[in-house]
């Protein structure tokens, strides 16, 4: 499941969407490298910046998939808000502005093993199930279709999420406030 494999998968497509495939491959490689750097770098602030790259790459993939609205939301919410939240978190727990103490070897081994195991199982499952399923995107999803769905079919879930956000807001204040 290396990036080379992905590249190969993208290149083997060989139809009209060459430009999209190239675009995908470049972004995918950037995302994977950034993700790996993000979880291995010692500097927490750098990790947050690597995370920005991954999130931006994800937004680009969303555009590729024709989901512009999600892409825009991704940029606004993730890069605009969540990353800022992380930076504030790093600032407030100033101990770790600089180097994060190195990851313990045994723990790294364990985590690596689990991750590789997971990757193998998922990779086998995916290749087994969707090895040559084509993805044809005729036209981007329209904003109105998304909003229609949210406010009709998924209205209950939407309301639930809004209550959840409110609860999280209150909860965060209660948890973090000084006695």
């Amino acid at each position: 499941m290396s990036s080379a494999g992905l590249l190969a998968a993208a290149a083997s497509d060989g139809d009209l969407f060459v430009a999209q495939n190239v675009f995908f491959a470049v972004i995918a490689v950037v995302m994977i490298i950034s993700a790996i750097r993000c979880v291995t770098t010692r500097n927490v602030v750098h990790a947050a910046l690597w995370l920005v790259l991954v999130l931006a790459g994800t937004a680009a993939q969303f555009i590729l998939l024709g989901s512009e609205f999600v892409a825009v939301t991704q940029v606004l919410v993730y890069i605009g808000a969540i990353i800022v939240l992380f930076l504030f978190g790093i600032m407030l727990t100033r101990a770790s502005m600089g180097d994060d103490e190195s990851v313990a070897g045994e723990k790294r081994l364990m985590a690596g093993l689990v991750a590789v195991l997971l990757a193998v199982v998922m990779g086998v499952a995916l290749i087994d199930s969707y090895s040559d399923t084509r993805l044809v995107i005729e036209e981007p999803q329209r904003f109105s279709a998304v909003s229609d769905a949210i406010f009709s079919q998924y209205i209950v879930a939407f309301e639930a999420v809004s209550v959840l956000l409110l609860a999280a807001l209150i909860g965060a204040i209660v948890v973090a406030r000084k006695e």
Binding site: A9, D13, M31, C38, V39, L65, G89, A104, Y130, V175
Partner: protein
């Protein structure tokens, strides 16, 4: 394009995120890794949505983004609380669950 390229990308990101959650000692880093995991799930949702030509994938991706925002808020509040009580956000030191 084939569907699998997105799914495999998401799988790789997911595994990287899992590695981060399991290996990092810094609480904030763990939260960031969780974000990676959620992102990979979103890629999956949107890819399948596009594949089935159904809006549900996008809608749920949006919900995941909202839930992720809530999760980061709470998570950071908890990390702050741990920091305030212990002067450290090293998760290996938080072992009150010890049996």
């Amino acid at each position: 394009m084939i569907l699998n390229q997105f799914l495999l990308l998401a799988a790789v990101l997911f595994c990287v995120g899992v590695y981060g959650v399991l290996a990092r000692r810094n609480g904030i880093m763990v939260l960031m890794s969780v974000e990676l995991i959620l992102n990979s799930v979103n890629i999956n949702l949107v890819a399948f949505g596009a594949f089935r030509d159904h809006v549900a994938g996008e809608v749920f991706a949006l919900f995941v983004i909202a839930v992720a925002a809530a999760e980061v808020g709470i998570g950071l509040a908890i990390v702050l609380m741990i920091y305030r009580n212990r002067r450290s956000i090293d998760l290996t030191e938080a072992d009150l669950l010890k049996g």
